[in-house]
Symmetry: C2
Subunit: 788 residues, 2 copies
Amino acid sequence: MATLGDIGVSALINILTAFAFLLAFALLRLQPINDRVYFPKWYIEGKRNSPTHRGGNFVGKFVNLNFRTYLTFLNWMPQALQMSEEEIISHAGLDSAVFLRIYILGLKIFGPIAVVALLVLVPVNATGGTLIFLSRDLVVSHIDKLSISNVSPKSLKFFAHISMEYVFTFWICFMLYKEYDRVASMRLKFLASRSRRAEQFTVLVKNIPHTSGHSISDSVENFFRRNHPDQYLCHQVVYNANKFSKLVRKREKLQNWLDYNQIKFQKHPEKRPTRKTRFLGLWGERVDSIDFYKQQIKDLDLKLTMERQKVLRDPEFILPAAFVSFKSRWGASICAQTQQSKIPTLWLTNWAPEPRDLYWKNLAIPFVSLTVRQLLISVAVFFLVFFYMIPIAFVQSLANLEGLQKAAPFLKPLIEWGFVKSLLQGFLPGLALKVFLFVLPSILMFMSKIEGHVAFSVLERRTAAKYYYFMLVNVFLGSIITGTAFEQLDAFLHQSPTQIPRTIGVSIPMKATFFITYIMVDGWAGMASEILRLKPLIIFHLKNMFIVKTERDRERAMDHKSVDFPETLPSLQLYFLLGIVYSSVTPILLPFMLVFFAFAYFIYRHQIINVYHQRYESAAAFWPHVHSRIIASLVISHLLLMGLLSTKKASQSTPFLIVLPILTLTFHKFCKSRFEPAFRKYPLEEAMDKDLEDSPLETDPNFKSYLADAYLHPIFRSVEEFELAEIRNDQHQAHASASDHINALSPPPHFPRHHHRDVDDEEQQMHNIHRYEIEPPRDVYHQQESTK
Amino acid sequence: MATLGDIGVSALINILTAFAFLLAFALLRLQPINDRVYFPKWYIEGKRNSPTHRGGNFVGKFVNLNFRTYLTFLNWMPQALQMSEEEIISHAGLDSAVFLRIYILGLKIFGPIAVVALLVLVPVNATGGTLIFLSRDLVVSHIDKLSISNVSPKSLKFFAHISMEYVFTFWICFMLYKEYDRVASMRLKFLASRSRRAEQFTVLVKNIPHTSGHSISDSVENFFRRNHPDQYLCHQVVYNANKFSKLVRKREKLQNWLDYNQIKFQKHPEKRPTRKTRFLGLWGERVDSIDFYKQQIKDLDLKLTMERQKVLRDPEFILPAAFVSFKSRWGASICAQTQQSKIPTLWLTNWAPEPRDLYWKNLAIPFVSLTVRQLLISVAVFFLVFFYMIPIAFVQSLANLEGLQKAAPFLKPLIEWGFVKSLLQGFLPGLALKVFLFVLPSILMFMSKIEGHVAFSVLERRTAAKYYYFMLVNVFLGSIITGTAFEQLDAFLHQSPTQIPRTIGVSIPMKATFFITYIMVDGWAGMASEILRLKPLIIFHLKNMFIVKTERDRERAMDHKSVDFPETLPSLQLYFLLGIVYSSVTPILLPFMLVFFAFAYFIYRHQIINVYHQRYESAAAFWPHVHSRIIASLVISHLLLMGLLSTKKASQSTPFLIVLPILTLTFHKFCKSRFEPAFRKYPLEEAMDKDLEDSPLETDPNFKSYLADAYLHPIFRSVEEFELAEIRNDQHQAHASASDHINALSPPPHFPRHHHRDVDDEEQQMHNIHRYEIEPPRDVYHQQESTK
């Protein structure tokens, strides 16, 4: 445990680190060559085409020579504050704006609490006088003098802590209520202000039953024509395009090689590039590269055409899911909220996510499978959270040299070499843990995908939830109680329910210095490293050096990631938990927390304005989770305080404290019914208002045609406009023919060969789907509007 | 603990008691004088007007002289089986039919389990041989030889029990699935087969906001005309008629006195009855009774007219709730399932219950109040369940004579009288407990009413839930573990979570004989006393002797209660719990259970056909609760078996058993999403089918006018048809005038004075509302139809 001096030293180190990062950032961001790393958002928006601050000469293209700008190296901070909230909403979306509000909420909650706690509780604790009599050098730090540990058992002073816990709880609930109210109305206002979009009129229907003699498309049409006669407009079936998209990716690679060779040939027209035909061009007959790739692409195009035909014609490739569009938002709203079928597991309707938000792969999972998947994943998450040390220990045991020698005797001489030995023994165990923690978010995201959610936004929220449980058990409890989570679980199972809060509660004040250090390392220095973007910076310059050939390539080399909700939300919630738990135990922790919230607010504001580009817009759908986890933190803090006080022989105070969690949970229940429907449902009043405000849909043929294609699998978007129409016809013919079982007669549509731009676009789509990274598909309707 | 012989004696006693009851029933039911007690259902249906089996002479009117009928005194049993399920549904409703299915389900579940358990587990247990070596006279009964206690610790034989637990769980889940499926489809079929009814087209809207300058009625009309333009038909506001109904009850009493005096005068025309004017006619001026009551009624009628006017005219009396009717079931269905308002706590819509099912008083409770009420009641239920001994102990301590003497010294001589003393000490403590258990259902019903549910069906289900918790803790756990529930709670809080199942599990086999006796006393003899209807029999004859003046009075003296769901469902669920828990522990209990299910099935079938008259029809809405409580029993049995085995040093079996509750809960989750919507929502497909099948509503003016009044507070139903029309006009004027604030000018409608029949009807309504007992209000629409 550290004294105040130790904490001061740690604070100094972390502040210096943070400043070093900030300074580096301030210097690097001014260099034109880094412009695309630190301002990618502006490039995407098309508001910036080339670095500003460009000097006149060649060097000025890469290095900022205007030395005046270096003098104001911290001016990004006021710049970041210039944008108003409305501007941020229109610039980066509601998700980002509400994400920033969480930091402000932290300041609003903990600011007054810090003042009150420091003024009231610190004097009460400091004059408690238990620990003063103990040996100063032994265990007790100076920080403990200011914490609840310093109050002698059975003291009446605990009523100060209990009453403060009441005050804090009411304050936090009050702020939470106000914030929930504000966010809910912001959401409604945001949704109301949006222009006409496909997802407002469209419902995703899953689990469409197969009826013999009818295609899926016919079933959908019949069902909705019958049950929503006045409102049904059109629908789109969902194709299973997994094989097709594999081919498209292959074609894309070949095209890349072709381009590369053509550029090579242009640069050195004297020598036509050649390659060998077999296995990565390593052996086989030597041929002309350009001809080779052209031929390959031609062959593949034929395959693609056939595959596309097959997908569009063969009813086997149509999934039992569809996007059904309605004539009004009102019609879509009632369809999304009601039960359609007599069998409650068929014809499941829900709002369609935005087209760019869709995770296509999960659309086909049947209902029973979903239940099983969710069971399996929740068991897996439980094991991951509580037994995550086991696989790591296994890897680490491999690093046990005796074991390795036995398993692979031929490695013996290598292992006995001193350097390798120390590497294996000293480095590998730590590396295994680091690797695991690094891949953890991906593992959790993979688990969420298996659960079968159909939108990235939902996937990210579910991943965030899993990550939160992991942090709660392994970071919070794991730091407080020694031993692995599994050992804790075992201990808890053999303790009485009243013993658990005591076991944890009694360790809480002792761990305050650890968490203060944690906040400084993870919250202060970590935040500063976030703004530096060291990894994207290096990657961008590497790509720039080796890959980038055209301006378009350079644009694609930019890494405009979005706010990383699956990681940032859980760690934010952990900070709230720490602040709430320690507010009445060791209030000296709160100022460190406040610095974190303020600093992180600046940094994320800057990043949201200049860097991040959201891949979807969920209109703050994550807020109910944030709210309920802060409520959970409150309840945890009540239980721990109860446990702590009972170890202080003040367990007669339990009846005073037991009321708090009950009231808090009631407050939560109230908030849930008061605000949550605004995040889950779409009120008819709102839908009707928007419908009446708009011009009727019938008068806008453009939008109707846009709707007809909005939810086409992005893989088919590669096709030109006129071909889209053709696909539409194909669909109709296909459905007609599918029901008549005459597939072969309609003429095959041809695949576009010479539209390089389109293939690029398509590749972007590919990124969206398969690497799940970059851009939304271009918005056909809005393009149409803007060109009018 | 009892030996097999003891159990045999107990069984004999209970069987004899049951036979005595049955014999008494068989004799009494044949007497014409008791006909209305044992066949009230047929009188209500109008299929029986006077006792059958009537002899020719005067005595034959009261006593059955046809001795042949006595010889076949058990023939009610085959008679009860004659009706098919469809006939029962049309005769008594789906609720009753599905209620009977629970008993059949019990037989289906426990029949095969009993066979398998007796064939497999009893031999395994009997050859276990632990207890044989112990002193036979000491503790162990013969029953224990057949139970799991007889197996020696660490024995591999426990795998027989574990595998049987698997087999039983799968069998129970399979039967539950089949039954849920069947009940859900029966419900849909039943709903589909119903003729056009008000509740199919009507939605109850609560929390209508007050807008200044508009009446509630105007707000409703505007809101629904705007948001459901094509579907909205009409609406009815809800009046706060509590004061008015008080006056109506007063008038009714006066009318009764008038009738009594008039009949008296007719019988003795020589003497006009007189009474004194003050205080129950005990002193004051002596006046002519008939004139006195006529004058009183006249005065009251004036008051009633004014009050009624006030209620109908004054917007103060209109509650912020309304019944909104739609042009089609489809329209009502979407309104009931969707969120209407931007503020999720306003304009809350839900299906309207049947008019006869409504609990009018709770319609006005605002949303915030509901949250608080539910919190308070759940805390109260918790205390009632765990601390119910405290008030009883308090009453019992009053019976402590020293305390009583101190509290009321003047009672000293009385108390010292031996008889009173022994009465107080010996009788009162037991009486306090009995009185508490007797009033418990009423207390729980009262609590449910405070929670704010608006339908009797929901109130009864909520009461059943509370009663179940009470039985689970106080009957099941309370019998297994000695000590009050409060002491148990205290013990559990200080035990580890793994210790609790052990503590309970280890006592389970020891209590088997107790529960066998319980089944025989409560299940066998108790059931037989149910069919005898001793209480209604006595009350009917008392009423007949003293009160009944006319045929109508005699009809009202009949006590045709409904199936007492709040009490029967929880005790049924307790039987399921016992059967499931003991199936793998002491399977010898199962045959007793089977006898109970079979016997109770006969008896309830007879009662449902001949006696009970349901006051509402919820179309088996209670089934999800039955299902989930059987699932809960399964999980409890898994946990207890785990605990029991761990005390048998077989805790390495835990991993095999821990899978079972997880699988069971997953099965429950699956069933919930698969079937529960059928009980909570009304699928659009179904609504549309029914709408298309029917003639359009517009062509049926009768139904439209019926809809307009279906949800009028029954208190206003006393008025004749033409006056109903007037009220409708009044409503319109009232709303118009309410918004214009001109109340005084419209002419006062007059109150009917000379419609004795109507006042009677009205009284019946009163019974419905205030004593919550007897009949549905006559169905105006169906009467209209049948008279056409």
